[in-house]
Amino acid sequence: MQSPATAEAAAPAAGKPQQQTPDVVIETRNLSKIYRDFWGRQKVRALKALDLEVRRGEIFGLLGPNGSGKSTTIKLLLGLLFPSSGRALVFDRDATDVSKNERIGYLPEESYLYKFLNAEETLDFYGRLFDMSAARRRERINELIDMVGLQWAKRRQLKEYSKGMTRRIGLAQALINDPELLMLDEPTTGLDPIGCREMKDLILKLRDEGKTILMCSHQLADVQDVCDRIAILHQGELKELGRVDSLLKVQDVTQIRAQGLSKEAEAEICALIERNGGKLLAMENPTWTLEELFLNIVRESEAHPGRRAQER
């Protein structure tokens, strides 16, 4: 089997700053971050000369183990951290330029929201930070609360919310300004499987609306499900960059899926493979993923309340 590391060579050449094209929403040039202590001594080199481009309309995933520099990259792009060297550009502006925030939405790793506000007040507060009229703000708040399914709890203070509910309202605040670029830090953490599915569907829907999404996650399945391109970071360095489909494609293995074949037909296919010099790796019935099974049960239960799930 070939290593996926050889995939796409379309990434920008490292260390060569170039003029940002209109299609490039995020660009980092030689971006490095060193954490220092009070006395200026180096503690951690969190990011090493990262060169990255995120293009308009794509879902870009940042992957890596803990401490690989994913969150640092997002924080540098948001201006929450300042680069030790190199540059981070968002919409062709420096990441520390506040005006870029007009066009971005950010969902942090945990929903860092004011617990003493209720859902409506939360969205109203964040809405006021944008140039939105009161009427537009009200309309948008209603839309978003509907979208994240919290109409029933919109008057409750966030301190009474469950983790999943807080994530939902966190997502709503990230979308309050209808942003062109969304930065999502671990978007599915804390959500139940239905919430995860909805989040992933929403991410895809937002992409279809022409928005750009940058997300980082440990949930590799989620990344695989939604991301167009991914970058894999390890110990602050970029290890891999490319399209998910081409990165994951196993070039020399062919998979055939068919329905309604008899045992004889299966034996014939095996013989055919052998005749052509191929090697049969597996022939078996596929299994559902646990997520698919769970979602099917829940859907069925909602359609027929009280009935026990059918045996499969």
């Binding site: 201006g79 950010y106 004011y114 007040e121």
Partner: protein, 641 residues
């Protein structure tokens, strides 16, 4: 009341204040740039550091100018909601408790209960509101950073300036509402606390008319009116009773008219209405005179010593606090106040002089006897050589006595020859100036006075306005503390910024003392003596902190000079720099002692508009400077670090 610093008219004060403000702003700007460059140079290297500082300035100045009121108000609303949901109203409960139970502890037998009541309500309001805004402002931003809620805020198009200003406005708004309610409650508490009444029975009054009985009847018979005077005491209420004097005038037509007055006890008196019916009864009005706002006109004080030679100060009788000077009795020593702006329109009925003298006795005599003195007016123009006859008085120690000087007086010339009746404005006032001279008449006894101890009571202002002005001064302090708390919290943790703000408040209360301590060292250097206009005697032996420590450990006396070694020279230079910095810090901090006008209200003096205007201007200056420092600190801080 002690008035250590003269209050200049606002417009006379402003130019100098603006100059100092500009100096501080420029100085702090330069220091800020230098420190900013040093930090940037350490992080990014000397060349790149320059560009970082230039970048911060380049984006910072437009950021500050283009502050959005909408976003600032959103941040302010958040601060208000945060305070309310964090049970800020508990402060109210504490205030209510203090008022409920405080009344038990107020010594209502005191001579001046109004002063006690006012000191309590103003003092506690001041303390509570400062503590409240201190906690609110110092912990809010650090908590946002600690719990990372700041991430979702700064990733919106909010400028650091709007975050800082929004918090200042929000917490100030909360404090303002709380303080306004406290002011209202205080006013009602004081008025109700002091309210009381007495009763007077006609039967309890004794007739003290001279020549009562047949004489008066005879006068009435002759077709004229006659008067009778009754005297007695009112009932004992609120720990005192008043002496009452009733004058009954029997008119020629047989009708009687009554006039009743009560004397002044515990700084107040009552109006008495006489109700004539089958029986004569008295209706006693509410107390008045306890709550007042006198407008004093202060003069300039100078002295003549015991031989009659001019001197800046009188005698120091051994008090360390040199606020009051003393004049010797039965000698040529005089205290002379020169008053300005004395016009007929202001003082048509003469000069309402009020004085609060101290007495220093060198022999006991009869300790209950008051010490006598003389006071007289003099035309300040020596060519005119006109003065009034000497008006004798006895000192009422520790309390303010009134000594109204009528417009028409007997005059004498410089040699004491009588000039007949003279007019205050025609003969004694020269270009709006008049002098009040005072001597102590008893040998071996001394009168002590400060400039503010003798004044002309030009008018009275409404008391409610004065208490409102007192609370306005508390409000101004609250604004400064809020700004300080928010400013410190942009770069320190919550607890540390609260400590830093508290330290600034404490230093602010003792700026004078800190400056004096710094001057012990600074005044030893002739160059700095000239620079800060200090006297050589303001220096003290022993040196600054390092030198003192060295002397302590090496057991060297503070009166011996150290050996002139290079090490000692360096040590003393470092001490000097430290003391100069301490003086500078004390100079820049708000002088909270001057902001505190509780005494004005409590002692019944009007808070002058000039003083209030100066405090408002100074507060505005602090708000501007602290908000800008807060902006740059937050702007250059890595919030996710």
């Amino acid at each position: 009341m002690v008035v250590e610093q003269e209050v200049l008219p606002f417009l006379a004060w402003l130019p100098n204040a603006l100059l100092i403000f500009a100096g501080i702003v420029v100085g702090m700007g330069l220091v800020g740039l230098f420190v900013g460059y040093l930090v940037a140079a350490v992080r990014h290297g000397p060349g790149e550091g320059f560009y970082v500082v230039a970048g911060v300035l380049n984006t910072g100045i437009p950021d500050l100018v283009m502050i959005s009121p909408r976003r600032t108000w959103a941040m302010a609303r958040l601060a208000i909601q945060e305070s309310l949901r964090n049970r800020v109203l508990v402060a109210f409960g504490v205030f209510a408790l203090i008022l409920l139970f405080g009344a038990w502890y107020i010594d209502i037998r005191n001579d001046d209960p109004a002063r006690l009541y006012l000191s309590v309500v103003l003092g506690w309001s001041n303390f509570l509101i400062l503590i409240l805004v201190l906690v609110l402002s110092a912990f809010s931003l650090p908590n946002d950073i600690k719990y990372r809620t700041i991430y979702t805020v700064v990733t919106k198009p909010v400028r650091a300036g709007e975050i800082v200003l929004g918090r200042i406005i929000g917490f100030s708004a909360i404090g303002t509402v709380l303080l306004a309610v406290m002011c209202l409650i205080s006013y009602v508490f004081v008025i109700r606390g002091l309210d009381h009444s007495h009763t007077i029975e006609l039967a309890d009054l004794a007739d003290v008319t001279s020549g009562t009985g047949a004489d008066s009847t005879a006068v009435v018979a002759a077709g004229q009116s006659a008067t009778r005077t009754l005297e007695g005491k009112s009932s004992f209420n609120a720990h005192h009773r008043h002496d009452v004097k009733v004058t009954i005038t029997e008119n020629a037509d047989g009708t009687k008219s009554y006039r009743a007055v009560a004397d002044t006890q515990m700084r107040h008196t009552h109006d008495i209405q006489v109700v004539e019916g089958d029986e004569v009864t008295f209706e006693i009005g509410p107390p008045h005179g306890a709550l007042q706002a006198r407008v004093p006109v202060y003069g300039k004080l100078r002295f003549l010593d015991r031989t009659g030679r001019p001197s800046d100060k009188g005698i120091n009788v051994g008090n360390e606090w040199g606020y009051r000077s003393y004049i010797e009795g039965d000698s040529q020593a005089r205290a002379i106040w020169t008053f300005n702006g004395i016009t007929e329109s202001r003082f048509a009925n003469g000069l309402p002089v009020e004085l609060t003298l101290r007495v220093f006795r060198t022999h006991k005599g009869r300790i209950e006897d008051k010490i006598s003195g003389e006071i007289w007016l003099k035309n300040p123009n020596p060519a005119k050589s006109v003065e009034t006859v000497r008006i004798p008085f006895v000192s009422a120690e520790f309390s303010t006595q009134q000594l109204p000087i009528p417009r028409k007086l007997e005059g004498v010339d410089a040699e004491g020859r009588p000039l007949g009746e003279i007019d205050l404005f025609a003969d004694l006032v020269d270009n709006g100036k008049v002098e009040i001279w005072m001597r102590c008449a008893e040998r071996g006894q001394y009168f002590g006075m400060a400039q503010a101890d003798v004044y002309l009571r030009a008018a009275d202002r409404p008391f409610f306005l004065n208490i409102a002005k007192g609370f306005t001064n508390i409000w101004l302090q609250m604004i400064i503390v809020t700004c300080m708390g928010v400013m410190f919290s942009t770069f320190l943790s919550g607890a540390v910024s609260m400590l830093a703000t508290m330290a600034s408040i404490v230093l602010g209360f003792f700026t004078q003392f800190v400056t004096e301590v710094a001057d012990y060292v600074i005044a030893r250097y002739p160059f700095f003596r000239r620079l800060f206009e200090l006297q050589e005697e303001q220096g003290a032996p022993g040196g600054g902190p390092i030198e003192s420590a060295v002397r302590l450990f090496t057991q060297q006396s503070i009166s011996t000079d150290l050996d002139p070694t290079p090490a000692n020279a360096v040590m003393q230079a470092v001490d000097l720099v430290l003391m100069l910095m301490m003086r500078l810090v004390a100079f820049m901090l708000p002088d909270f002692r001057s902001f505190s006008t509780v005494d004005y209200v409590a002692y019944g003096y009007n808070i002058s508009g000039d003083l209030l205007a100066q405090h408002c201007a100074a507060t505005l200056a602090f708000v501007l400077v602290l908000a800008v420092i807060g902006y740059f600190c937050l702007r250059t801080r890595e919030l996710a670090a």
